[in-house]
C-alpha cells in the first residue's frame, strides 16, 4: 500500500429520525465493510466512543449501530473548534442472513469492529455440475 497523506474530512451529519432525548449532534461514521466466505465484517470509525457506549441492534435485516460520545468538560472555554463533537449513528440493510447468536463486537482506539457470521444457509455453496 502506498503511503499517502491523510486529508481532513468534515463529519457528515446523520439524518434526523424522530426526536432525540439527549441534545446534541449525530454523525455518520466512516465504515469499511468486507466479506469472507464465513463472515461479514464491519469496521467503523467512532472516535470518543468506548466499548460501553456502543449500542447494536439487528432486526429484520436492519443493522443499527449507535455510539455515544461524552461531551468535553463544561468548565473549559473553547478557543478554536475545527471539528464538531457528537454521537455516531448508521443503519445498514443486510443482504445476508446473519447468525445473530454469534455476532462479535469490539472497540479499540475508537474503532468498532463487528464480526457478523453468516447463517448456515447464506454461506456460499459450490454447486456440482454433473455431466449427463
Amino acid at each position: 500500500m502506498t503511503e499517502q497523506e491523510l486529508k481532513p474530512k468534515v463529519k457528515e451529519e446523520a439524518p434526523v429520525k424522530g426526536e432525540r432525548v439527549r441534545p446534541g449532534r449525530v454523525f455518520i461514521p466512516a465504515v469499511d465493510i468486507f466479506e469472507t466466505p464465513e463472515t461479514l465484517v464491519l469496521v467503523a470509525d467512532m472516535p470518543g466512543v468506548s466499548g460501553d457506549n456502543v449500542t447494536l441492534d439487528l432486526k429484520d435485516n436492519l443493522l443499527i449501530i449507535f455510539g455515544q460520545v461524552n461531551p468535553s468538560p463544561e468548565k473549559e472555554t473553547l478557543l478554536a473548534q475545527e471539528y464538531a463533537i457528537g454521537d455516531f449513528y448508521r443503519e445498514f440493510q443486510m443482504g445476508e442472513l446473519i447468525d445473530t447468536g454469534k455476532i462479535e463486537a469490539s472497540v479499540r482506539n475508537g474503532v468498532l469492529t463487528l464480526t457478523l457470521p453468516k447463517a448456515e444457509k447464506a454461506k456460499p455453496r459450490r454447486i456440482e455440475v454433473k455431466s449427463g
Partner: protein
C-alpha cells in the same frame, strides 16, 4: 518515519506558516486567522484556568504510532494511521476509511510550561494537556478602597 525530518522541521514549518500568513493577509486584508485549507488532524483547542487543551480525533491510531513534540510555542503532531490488510479472499462492499500519515504544526495561542505537558489517547481521541505558566494565568485583582 525518520525520513520526514532531516533539518529542523519546526523552523521550516514556522517559516512556511509565516509566509502563508503574509500571503493571506495581503489577499484578505487584515484578517489575522484566515480560513485555510485544513490539515489532518483537525483540532479543537480549549482552556480553563490552569491548562490549555488541544484535542484531535484519531480513530484507529495507536499511541505508539503517534508523536507529539513541543518546541517554543509550536506543537507538532505527527503519526500514521494503519489499516491492516485483510486476507486475500476478502471482498469489499464499502471502503470509506483511509490510512496514511499526517503531520500538523500548531502555533499555540498562549505560552505554556514546556516541562508540564501531557498527551493521552483514549478511545481514539488525543488530548494534549499543556500547563499555563504562572505569569499567564488569570489573576483576580482585589480592588482596595482608598
Amino acid at each position: 518515519m525518520a525520513m520526514f525530518f532531516n533539518r529542523d522541521p519546526f523552523q521550516e514549518l514556522d517559516d512556511l506558516q509565516r509566509q502563508m500568513d503574509r500571503l493571506f493577509q495581503t489577499a484578505v486584508g487584515r484578517e489575522r486567522y484566515p480560513r485555510r485549507m485544513g490539515v489532518y488532524p483537525l483540532l479543537n483547542i480549549s482552556e480553563d484556568h490552569d491548562h490549555l487543551y488541544v484535542r484531535a480525533e484519531l480513530p484507529g491510531v495507536s499511541p505508539e504510532d503517534l508523536e507529539v513534540t513541543l518546541k517554543d510555542q509550536n506543537l507538532l503532531i505527527r503519526g500514521q494511521r494503519k489499516i491492516p490488510a485483510e486476507e486475500k479472499n476478502v471482498n469489499y462492499h464499502r471502503r470509506e476509511r483511509e490510512s496514511g500519515f499526517f503531520r500538523r504544526v500548531l502555533r499555540l495561542p498562549a505560552q505554556v510550561d514546556p516541562q508540564n505537558v501531557e498527551a493521552a489517547c483514549k478511545d481514539g481521541v488525543l488530548t494534549i494537556t499543556l500547563a499555563k505558566p504562572e505569569e499567564v494565568k488569570p489573576r483576580q485583582i482585589t480592588v482596595k478602597s482608598a
